[in-house]
Amino acid sequence: MISIHTRQLLSGLVLPVMVFLAVGVMLAGQIWSGRAIQLRMAAAREMGPVYQGLLFPQKQFYKWQLTLQGVGDLLAANARLRKENRQLAYWYGEAQTLRQENARLKAVLHWGAEDTRDYVSGWVVRDESGPYLRAVLLQVGDHQVQQGSLAVDAVGLVGRVSEVGAHVVRVLLIEDAASRIPVTLQNSGGDAMMIGDNTPYPRLMYYSQSLRPEEGEHIVTRGQTGLTGGVAVGHVHYLSPGQPVVVPDAALERLELVRIFDGDFMLEAPPSAGRVREKPPLLPDHHDGEAPSNWQNLRRFLPFSSLRNG
């Protein structure tokens, strides 16, 4: 039997012995560090499945976090795509407008290249514009031009030939009060009538109420018998609500070189309500070689007189 004193002495020695052992472990770990590392690696390898179980909640949490992050990214991507979609819609509208404009310009360019269309270009030799008349005289040489032929400048429609002389023709401008030209609204495809009123902006009338002209909408001539369609005229502008006018593309205030398209497409010139006839005809009214009488000259100034030359 161990006595109480011996037992107390031994119990007091346990801690120093253990500290001594711990120091020994420490020294052994420093001397044989490789073995200590192998021992720890073996313990970690044996505990691998337990570690996997411990890490399972963390991995699940990371998965949920990634999922939520993905949802957040989707929301951000959705917002970005909506914004891009709006921009694309804007550019689509721009592209449509440019395509129409391109087609219009191409149509104008193609016009002059058509073999079936005969045209002549002439210099404006006189501007006959006044308070009640908007017209110019063109020097066309020996080229035969018919009444009603379209006259264009580099950009758009100028007017129609109202009278034909030997070397000079009169072009009634689209802003003249006697001008009546059927046009087509390019966006909606509706038809209307462009009516001059001696102002720089001809009025737009007789359009369908279901296809009202839009602000800025391009206008071309309406293709029909006696009139070539697709010629650029101008664009719609509202001077006041319900009163659309046409802002002409052509520079009507400073016409220099005008091209007249001639051909067999014109059947009859539109009536000009006597406006053109206020000035003397370019050709003398000959009837079978007879000289015009004074009475016949007086008819020019009478109301409801014939528009035809002679």
């Binding site: 472990v25 420490m26 420093q30 560090s33 970690a44 411990l54």
Partner: protein, 188 residues
Amino acid sequence: MALRLEQGRLDHEALEGVRQRKLMVRVRRKLSPCVVMVILAFVLSAPFGILGQTELQTALTLGTVWFWALYRPAFMPLLGLFCSGLVIELFSANPPGVLLFWMLVAYGVAHGCRVGLSRRGFLLSWTLYGLIVLGEALTDWVLMVIRVRGALSVYPIVFQEALAVGSYPFLHVLYLWGLSVMEKHDRL
């Protein structure tokens, strides 16, 4: 538990039950802190990738030894402490033996000064605990300097000291609560 008497004699079956229960209580008291300490060290050795995980492992181990050796030395036998220290060394990333050595130092200091510290209050015991952690961190640092044969940053020492000192009050409260629960359960 009240003993049942049958015809003036002790119920040996009930007496055996009481003995087994007392044994269970003793075993649980002797093992619980060490088992908790080993579990904490093992869990913190898993690769969670948490910042300061290794330092926290050391802090919780030393804090556990310090608390139980200071307030309930009977719950932490020296042999259990040594064995659990050896097990913890397997899952530790510190140089081998250092943590075990400072666990024994903490036990010794707490065991030897527990009467005086119980009079001085919590702050002094907290300060002493901080010094023990500082000693452990310095030992680690010195051994690593010897191993790499070059100067190392002292930032890990500061970080481990701050983490251990900062976490000890929470550990103290947690163990106090566990102690009260255990004693209440044992009384029943």
